[in-house]
C-alpha cells in the first residue's frame, strides 16, 4: 500500500504497540486529540488511556517519566509537540538518559519523537533542526529518516533499541512524500546509511528532507553529465562513517548538505571524518551547502532565502566538479 511519511510512522508505532504490550506513548494532546500533527490519531481509541498517556505541558516530566518507566522495563515513545520544545527536556535527555548505562549499567530504552525542520512558515520556534545538540552527546542515538520506508523501519528499530533514541521526523515531509511500503514486516537498522542514488563524480552527503533536495539537484546535474552520488545518512549517531568514506573514496569529492544552520552543523563532523580517513582520495575541497547562521525566519521571502535548495546544490556541485 502507498503510504505517506506520516502514515509510515503511524504504522510503525501501531505495529510495535500491537507486538509488545510494554510499548506505550506519552505526550501532550496525543490521546483523544491524536497529536498536533495527528500522528497518533486513532491510537487512543484502540489502546486506551493506559497506553496513550496524555500529559500536562511538561516536557521535562515527559522525558523524565519516560526514563523512569523504561528503567522498570517499559518502552516509552515520547512525543515532543514540536522538536523546538525539546530544549525544555534537555537536562533529562542529555544528562539523565544518555549517561545511565555508562554510569550504572541501567538501560534506558526510550524513543523521543520530535517533529523538526522548516519550510512550513513555522518561524523560529516551529522549524528548528535540533539534531546537533544530541549528536554531540555520547550515549544517545539520533535518527532522521528521509523516506516513508525508512521512517517506518527506523521507528520500529528505535522502539526495539535498548538505548535512548532521538527520532527527528521532518514535518515538511509528513504529507509531501509517499511510497509503496512492503506488506510484510520490516525494520531498518539504526546506524546504517543508504545510497539514495549512485554516482561516480561527487558525493552529496545529507539526511532528512535535504535528501530530496539532493536528489533533485542530482537530476539536474545528470542532465549536464555530472553523476552525483547521494548518501542518505538516515542515522546521525552512531554515524555510518564507513558508508561516508566509501562513497568519497569512489567519487573523490564531497559536498555536505544540511537544512540545519551552518556553524556547528553535521557538515563539520562529516568533513573531519572524511579528511581523517580518506584524505588521499580527495580531489577537491570538502564543501558544504547549509542554511545560514540565523534563527529560522518566519516570512516566506526570508525562509525561502534561508533554506538550502537544489539550485544552491547544483551550483556548488558544478564548481566542485570543475575543480
Amino acid at each position: 500500500m502507498v503510504a505517506t511519511y506520516i502514515e509510515a510512522i503511524r504504522q510503525g508505532l501501531w505495529e510495535e504497540m500491537e507486538r509488545d504490550p510494554n510499548v506505550f506513548l506519552i505526550g501532550e494532546d496525543i490521546g483523544v486529540y491524536g497529536g498536533a500533527f495527528k500522528v497518533t490519531a486513532g491510537f487512543h481509541e484502540k489502546f486506551g488511556d493506559r497506553r496513550v498517556v496524555d500529559t500536562p505541558i511538561s516536557e521535562a516530566a515527559i522525558a523524565g517519566a519516560a526514563i523512569g518507566a523504561s528503567l522498570m522495563g517499559l518502552r516509552p515513545v515520547a512525543e515532543m509537540q514540536f522538536a523546538d520544545f525539546i530544549t525544555c527536556a534537555f537536562d533529562q535527555i542529555v544528562n539523565f538518559a544518555a549517561k545511565c548505562r555508562y554510569r550504572w549499567g541501567a538501560a534506558v530504552p526510550i524513543v523521543i519523537r520530535a517533529p523538526s525542520g522548516g519550510g512550513v512558515h513555522g518561524g523560529p520556534f516551529h522549524s528548528q533542526n535540533p539534531e546537533m545538540w544530541f549528536v554531540r552527546t555520547p550515549g544517545l542515538k539520533v535518527v532522521a529518516p528521509a523516506t516513508a520506508y525508512d521512517a517506518k523501519g527506523l521507528i520500529k528499530s528505535a522502539i526495539r533499541d535498548n538505548d535512548p533514541v532521538l527520532f527527528f521526523e521532518h514535518k515538511g515531509l509528513y504529507r509531501r512524500i509517499k511510497e509503496e511500503l512492503p506488506a510484510e514486516e520490516y525494520c531498518v537498522p539504526i546506524g546504517k546509511a543508504r545510497v539514495a542514488r549512485e554516482g561516480r563524480d561527487l558525493s552529496i552527503i545529507t539526511y532528512g528532507a535535504m535528501v530530496w533536495t539532493a536528489l533533485s539537484a542530482a537530476e539536474q546535474l545528470a542532465a549536464e553529465g555530472i553523476e552525483a552520488e547521494v548518501i542518505d545518512l538516515r542515522t546521525l549517531l552512531p554515524l555510518d562513517r564507513e558508508a561516508v568514506c566509501s562513497s568519497v573514496k569512489k567519487t573523490s569529492k564531497a559536498l555536505l548538505l544540511h537544512e540545519d544552520t551552518r556553524t556547528g552543523g553535521m557538515a563539520g563532523e562529516l568533513a573531519v571524518t572524511i579528511t581523517e580517513s580518506v584524505f588521499d582520495y580527495l580531489d577537491g575541497p570538502v564543501v558544504r551547502v547549509t542554511a545560514p547562521d540565523t534563527p529560522v525566519p518566519f516570512s516566506q521571502t526570508l525562509e525561502e532565502a534561508f533554506l538550502p535548495n537544489a539550485g544552491h546544490v547544483v551550483e556548488k556541485a558544478r564548481w566542485l566538479h570543475r575543480y
Binding site: 511538561s58 512558515h121 518561524g123 518566519f298 526570508l302
Partner: protein, 332 residues
C-alpha cells in the same frame, strides 16, 4: 491571602473607562475574527493563528490599569495589550501576514511580537518561558528604583512548566514588583484543567510561593480592572508579586485549524452567555454611559478601521531577502 473569593466590584468603572474598554475589546475581537475567519482561510496568514475570543476583557482590563512605564509580557491570547499601548491594527495584520511592516519585520509570526519602546516583551513559543524573564524585568525595576511593575500573562496550562515554577518562586523570594495573570480558559490545546493539574484553581498555587492570589471573573472587564489595580498597587508598593486567576473560556479551537470537537458543546453555549463584550455593552446601556445606537456606531467605526488596516497590510511588502542575515548580532 485568599485564593477562593470571586471578586466583581465596580472600582475602575465609569463611562470613560467603559468606552476605552469597549474600543479595545471590540478592536481585538474584530482583528482576530478577521484573521481567523477570513484572512487565514484565504491563505493570507502565515503560520498558526491563536485568538483570544471571549478572553478580551483580561488583556484590556489589566493593561488599562498599567502605567506606560510598566512592562508587559502578554501571552498568545492577549492582543489588546498591544492595542492599548498604541500598536496600529495595520502593523498587527502585517505581522500575521509576514510583512516587513510587522513588529518583527517578518522574522517571527502572530503574537510573537514585542517592542521595548512600548515596554512590551515578545513571548517565545515555549510556554511560560516569559515568567522568569518577567521576574528579571521586575528585578531591574527594583534595582533601578523605577516606580514600575511588570505584568505577565499565561494560560493555566502553562503553569505546568518548570519555568513557571522557577519564575514564580524566584520573584516571590526576591519580593519583586510583578503581577501574574493567568488566563484560565480551561483548556490547553485539547487538554482540560482536570488533566493539567490536580488542584481546583490556579490560585491554589499561590500559597506554594507565599503569593497572594485572587480568582477573578475574567469575562467582566470591570472585575478584571479592579483586581488588576489591587494587584498592581500591591506590587508597586513593594509588597512583592500578586497572582490573579482570571476565569474565562476559550471560545474557539486552540488554533485556526482546530475545530475543538473535544470540547463539550454545552460549554460553548454556557460561556457565550457570558461574553465579555456583550456584558460590557449591557452595562454601558444600563448605566446610560452609551446608547445602543452609539454602540452600533462604534462597531461600525471599528469594522471600517479594521478594513482599512487589512488593506494597508496587504499592500505592505514582504521582507527583502537581502536582510536575511541582519541583526543576528549587533552590527558595528
Amino acid at each position: 491571602m485568599s485564593a477562593t473569593e470571586t471578586i466583581s466590584t465596580i472600582e475602575g468603572a465609569g463611562a470613560a473607562f467603559a468606552h476605552q474598554s469597549l474600543r479595545f475589546t471590540l478592536l481585538m475581537r474584530e482583528i482576530e475574527d478577521r484573521i481567523e475567519r477570513k484572512l487565514y482561510r484565504q491563505g493570507k496568514i502565515l503560520g498558526g493563528v491563536y485568538v483570544g475570543r471571549g478572553q478580551e476583557a483580561i488583556s484590556v482590563g489589566a493593561t488599562l490599569m498599567a502605567e506606560p512605564g510598566d512592562m508587559l509580557y502578554p501571552s498568545h491570547r492577549d492582543m489588546a495589550a498591544f492595542l492599548v499601548r498604541g500598536v496600529s491594527p495595520g502593523r498587527i495584520f502585517a505581522q500575521y501576514m509576514g510583512r516587513a511592516a510587522g513588529l518583527t519585520r517578518g522574522r517571527d509570526g502572530n503574537m510573537h511580537m514585542g517592542d521595548m519602546n512600548l515596554r512590551i516583551g515578545a513571548i517565545i513559543s515555549a510556554l511560560a518561558a516569559t515568567v522568569p524573564v518577567a521576574a528579571g524585568s521586575a528585578l531591574a525595576m527594583k534595582y533601578l528604583g523605577m516606580p514600575n511593575v511588570t505584568i505577565c500573562w499565561f494560560g493555566e496550562g502553562s503553569t505546568s512548566l518548570g519555568h513557571w515554577h522557577e519564575g514564580m518562586n524566584f520573584a516571590s523570594v526576591q519580593k519583586l514588583p510583578v503581577v501574574w495573570i493567568c488566563n484560565n480558559n480551561q483548556y490547553a490545546y485539547s487538554t482540560p484543567m482536570s488533566a493539567q493539574m490536580a488542584c481546583v484553581n490556579v490560585a491554589d498555587r499561590g500559597a506554594a510561593y507565599g503569593i497572594p492570589a485572587e480568582i477573578v471573573d475574567g469575562n467582566d472587564v470591570f472585575a478584571v480592572s479592579a483586581a488588576a489595580k489591587r494587584a498592581i498597587d500591591h506590587a508597586r508598593a513593594g509588597n512583592g508579586p500578586y497572582l490573579l486567576e482570571c476565569k474565562t473560556f476559550r471560545m474557539t479551537g486552540h488554533s485556526a485549524h482546530d475545530n475543538a470537537d473535544y470540547v463539550p458543546p454545552a460549554l460553548f453555549d454556557e460561556w457565550s452567555k457570558l461574553d465579555p463584550i456583550t456584558r460590557l455593552e449591557s452595562r454601558m446601556i444600563a448605566e446610560k454611559w452609551a446608547s445602543r445606537e452609539e454602540i452600533d456606531g462604534i462597531h461600525a467605526a471599528i469594522v471600517k478601521e479594521v478594513d482599512e488596516a487589512v488593506q494597508w497590510a496587504e499592500n505592505c511588502p514582504f521582507p527583502d531577502p537581502a536582510t536575511l542575515l541582519e541583526d543576528v548580532y549587533e552590527s558595528e
